[in-house]
């Protein structure tokens, strides 16, 4: 086999070195002579289909033979070897056939075919690559948006409605979106051109008008000096006609120098007076020159300082102000008032006047007020009425809790600490009271939660509080004046009951008021029968305290009175102590407690006609009546001899009622009998 294969191999070896040259030589060989077997020629002649069939058949045969050999071998035996040999030879022949076929499967043909396939493959690759590239280009192109899409075009309906037909070209554009977009862009351009025109026109108009304004302004400013001269000339006429415009004008001139809070107060009070209350008059007091001087730089003082320093270095004999005096000066400086102040005069119906002077403390940024009450006829002040109209207390707690003893500006505390001021209340007599309503009238608001750096005067704050405050002030003065008059009577042992309040009481009242005096706050707190009021927090130091003594026979009734500055909206509160057959107070006698209730809780019936100036006197009269009832209805003690001290004169339906065995304290008008609530 090897010899056969070597023969066949030789031409194969030659053929493997460079195909084209070989091909030529091969052809020439076959042309020359058919001397020896040429595989190459055979390759051209053979049919590849038939070769494939042969190949298949040979493989099948080989397989069959191998299987038979396998069978024989496994069977074993002597003659097996011959059979096997025979088949071996056949197999070899088949192997040879396969070898030949393999060789014949001319590389050229397959090579050519392969090359063709490769070429096609390459073409395919190129095309695919191109396709990919083109696709990329397309996506890129579609990603890029054209500028025209960024323009906000009007909606389609509007476009067709508004655009002139030569632009919209409905027939064409309806069908073709590209044309439609073009048309819309056209229209957009049209519109823009038109609007640009309009804009230019408007600009030029504006310029024209501005010029006109300038001209008019010039004209007006030249008018001012002419008017002034007319005003001057008219002064004598004004005076003759009692129309002091000039005076008001002067006041406004002065007002310009007021510090902002006083200015707000001035403006708002004047406005309120003109609009709502003709009895209010507003004036400015103080030195305008000093006010102007506040804003001049202190040049002279600087020179002084340097002088004194220089001298100090030279001579130690020169006296320096002591530390105490220095501190005092600093305090004075801190509490300095603005040289101008605003005066408000409220005139009441009975010709009494409340004079209010408002000051501004410049370094503390707060306002204070000083009050004075004057009456048409001179008042003789009863002893107990001292505090009613005193400047210090007449306006105390005008609004509940507004005692005016502390500065309303929280920032002031730090300033006070620096100069050793404990509290502003030490200086209120001199400076006036810094009530909260005063700050509000000056437009100043000091919020507790967030202390502000600079608090500026606000007109609306002042305006919103003006009317209520003015009304409260008037009510306060009237109420105090009424009390003033009543106290004079009370001190003489007479409870002044007006005719329109007579119906509240029986005709005959036997118990009498024998004493009416003021009581100091500390003394009130010390009384043994006022504990409940003190514990309830109703006995603060802003109240006024009095003691009334009502007597009948051997019975003495003490009544401790708390008068709230807000009288008569807030009723006076009574606490009683009866000395008769022992001491009876609300803690050991339910009826005494009930009597207190009759004046403290059931006071509304005793208010009388508005504005309730009769409340206190009616309460006192009621106490007298209650004492009468108490004494006359006291049950007779069987064990004691003799008649009752106080025979019952009051008409009562029943003497005792309920679990607490209450006396009949309620007076019924006009029947005139007493019953229980």
């Amino acid at each position: 086999m090897s010899s056969e294969s070597s023969k066949k191999r030789k031409p194969k070896v030659i053929r493997s070195d460079g195909a084209p040259a070989e091909g030529k030589r091969n052809r020439s060989d076959t042309e020359q002579e058919g001397k020896y077997y040429s595989e190459e020629a055979e390759v051209d002649l053979r049919d590849p289909g038939r070769d494939y069939e042969l190949y298949k058949y040979t493989c099948q045969e080989l397989q069959r033979l191998m299987a038979e050999i396998q069978d024989l071998k496994s069977r074993g035996g002597k003659d097996v070897a011959i059979e096997i040999e025979e088949r071996r030879i056949q197999s070899c022949v088949h192997f040879m056939t396969l070898k030949k076929l393999n060789r014949l499967k001319g590389r050229d043909q397959t090579h050519e075919a392969k090359q063709k396939v490769d070429a096609y493959h390459l073409q395919l690759q190129n095309l695919l690559y191109e396709v990919m590239h083109l696709q990329k280009e397309i996506t890129n192109a579609s990603g890029v948006s054209s500028k025209h899409e960024e323009i906000d075009l009007v909606s389609l309906e509007e476009f067709y409605k508004e655009a002139p037909p030569d632009i919209s070209k409905a027939e064409v554009t309806m069908g073709d979106p590209h044309q439609q977009t073009l048309a819309r862009l056209d229209w957009e351009l049209e519109q823009r051109k038109r609007l640009a025109e309009k804009y230019r026109e408007c600009l030029s108009n504006k310029e024209k008008i501005l010029k006109e304004i300038e001209v008019k302004k010039e004209y007006l400013s030249s008018l001012q000096p002419r008017l002034n001269s007319i005003m001057q000339a008219s002064l004598p006429v004004q005076e003759y006609l009692f129309m002091p415009f000039d005076q008001a004008h002067k006041q406004y001139e002065t007002a310009r120098h007021l510090p902002p809070p006083l200015y707000v107060l001035f403006v708002q009070a004047t406005a309120y007076g003109q609009a709502c209350d003709k009895t209010l008059s507003v004036a400015i007091e103080g030195s305008v020159d000093e006010a102007k001087a506040l804003f001049k730089p202190p040049e002279d003082s600087q020179d002084d300082e340097s002088d004194s320093d220089a001298e100090e270095e030279q001579t130690t004999k020169r006296r320096r102000p002591t530390l105490g005096v220095q501190l005092d000066d600093k305090r004075k400086e801190m509490l300095k008032r603005h040289p101008l102040s605003v005066m408000l005069d409220l005139k009441c119906k009975d010709d009494s006047v409340l004079h209010l002077t408002f000051y501004y403390l410049m370094n503390l940024n707060i306002m204070t007020v000083k009050a004075k009450v004057t009456t048409a006829t001179e008042l003789i002040t009863p002893i107990s009425a001292g505090d009613l109209l005193s400047p210090d207390s007449v306006l105390s707690c005008l609004y509940p809790g507004d005692h005016g003893k502390k500065t309303p500006n929280p920032a002031n505390q730090y300033q006070f600490d620096k100069v050793g001021i404990l509290t502003l209340s030490d200086y209120v007599l001199e400076l006036g009271h810094p009530y909260l309503w005063v700050q509000k009238l000056g437009g100043l608001h000091f919020p507790k939660e967030q202390p502000q750096q600079t608090v500026i005067a606000d007109h609306s704050l002042s305006a919103s509080h003006m009317e209520t405050t003015m009304k409260l002030l008037k009510t306060r003065v009237q109420s105090r004046l009424a009390l003033h008059k009543q106290f004079a009577s009370l001190e003489h042992g007479i409870v002044p009951v007006t005719s329109d309040c007579q119906y509240l009481f029986p005709a005959k009242v036997v118990s009498r008021l024998v004493k009416w005096v003021t009581v100091a706050h500390e003394d009130y707190m010390e009384l043994h029968f006022t504990k409940d009021i003190v514990d309830a927090g109703l006995a603060g130091d802003t109240n006024l305290y009095y003691m009334a003594l009502i007597e009948r026979g051997t019975a003495k009734l003490q009544a401790a009175v708390v008068l709230n500055p807000g009288y008569s909206s807030i009723p006076p509160v009574f606490q009683l102590c009866l000395n008769w057959k022992g001491e009876k107070t609300n803690s050991n006698d339910d009826n005494i407690r009930a009597m207190e209730g009759e004046v403290n809780v059931c006071y509304k019936e005793l208010c009388g006609p508005w504005p309730s100036h009769q409340l206190l006197t009616n309460q006192l009269q009621r106490l007298c009546v209650l004492l009468d009832v108490y004494l006359e209805t006291e049950s007779h003690d069987d064990s004691v001899e003799g008649p009752k001290e106080f025979p019952q004169e009051k008409m009562c339906l029943r003497l005792f009622r309920g679990p607490s065995r209450m006396k009949p304290f309620k007076y019924n008008h006009p029947q005139g009998f007493f019953s229980h609530r």
Binding site: C397, P400, G401, D532, I533, A536, G537, L538, G540, N564, G566, S569, I570, P571, V573, N586, S587, N588, D590, R593, E596, G597, N600, V601, S635, D637, D638, S639, V640, L653, R654, F656, R657, G658, P659, S660, R661, S675, H676, R677
Partner: protein, 333 residues
């Protein structure tokens, strides 16, 4: 510190408030209190007694205007609160009262003799056996009202002055009444007649003329009766009408009750007094009011955790005693 008018006025109202009556809810968790302004406040005992109780728990859950005049007396049935004061008795549903704007279920007025002034009702007494309510007060008569139909079935006459208090003797059934005329009268409900009269002030051991003869409070326990008021607080053996123990306290007592083997009383003065039946004072526990008018023991089985003694009187507060030895805290209107 009250500054504004409304604050001042509310403070004054509270200072002059008197709580006349109390009643525990059927579930035992709530307490109703009636005052001289005609208001009823409902307090949550369970909330006030719980470990998470805050200051608001001591305030009423709801307060409403129940009557025009003072609420002198209240009792509770298993579903209703009955309140009385100025002449009429009203019924409220316990389950509804905690809601705002609660309206009374019904109101009834007994047939009074007088017409000038409406007499007050000082005492209410439930008679479970016949499902009726007894009312007594300013017109000196005891009226029974059937709770089912609302009709007034009996009038018991005998007192010569107004009636303060009532007590029930379950067995018979008999009613005891005490009044301003100084007598304790026993009434048999079946015959509607007065069967026994004790004129307390006529007995030297207990009479105190300087205080008056009025009987302000009554309590009974089978054969025994304790009463007080103008005369001294005295324990009586009913069948023999004899005073067996006079309790040594000067101040007139306005409320008395038997509790276990003790007698509890309160009246003028701050304290709740605990007495042995022998007459010995076991304890005197001060409350927060200068005088007391009513005591209430919460013995409702449904709420054992709310078993407290509550005392109220001449103030806006109701003292709560978790054990009889001291005042734990006070509820307040």
């Amino acid at each position: 510190k009250p500054h504004r008018f409304t604050e001042v006025f509310q403070a004054l109202q509270r200072l002059h408030m008197t709580i006349f009556s109390q009643s525990v809810s059927p579930c035992g968790k709530f307490l109703a209190a009636g005052n001289n302004y005609g208001q009823i406040a409902i307090f949550s005992l369970s909330a006030a007694l719980s470990s998470e109780a805050k200051e608001e728990s001591k305030k009423p859950v709801v307060t409403f205007q129940a009557h025009d005049g003072p609420v002198y007396s209240m009792v509770s049935t298993d579903r209703h609160l009955l309140s009385a004061g100025d002449g009429e008795v009203k019924a409220w549903l316990w389950a509804e009262m905690l809601k705002k704007g609660c309206k009374e279920l019904w109101h009834r007025q007994p047939p009074y003799r007088t017409s000038l002034e409406v007499p007050e009702i000082n005492a209410l007494l439930l008679v479970p056996k016949e499902n009726s309510l007894i009312l007594a007060g300013g017109d000196c008569q005891l009226h029974t009202m059937d709770l089912e139909t609302g009709t007034f079935t009996r009038v018991l006459r005998g007192h010569t002055d107004y009636i303060h208090c009532l007590a029930l003797r379950e067995r018979s059934p008999e009613v005891l009444s005490g009044g301003e005329d100084g007598a304790v009268r026993l009434w048999d409900l079946r015959t509607a007649k007065e069967v026994q009269t004790i004129e307390v002030y006529k007995h030297e051991e207990c009479s105190r003329p300087h205080n008056g003869r009025w009987i302000g409070c009554l309590a009974t326990d089978s054969d025994w009766m304790v009463c007080g008021g103008g005369p001294a607080l005295t324990l009586w053996h009913l069948r023999s009408s004899t005073p067996t123990t006079v309790f040594p306290i000067r101040a007139p007592q306005k409320h008395v009750t038997f509790y276990q083997d003790l007698i509890l009383s309160a009246g003028q003065g701050r304290c709740v007094n605990q007495w042995q039946l022998s007459g010995e004072l076991k304890a005197q526990v001060p409350g927060s009011s200068p005088g007391l008018l009513s005591l209430s023991l919460n013995q409702q089985p449904a709420a054992p955790e709310c078993k407290v003694l509550t005392a109220a009187g001449n103030s806006c507060r109701v003292d709560v005693f978790t054990n009889l030895g001291y005042r734990a805290f006070s509820l307040s209107f």
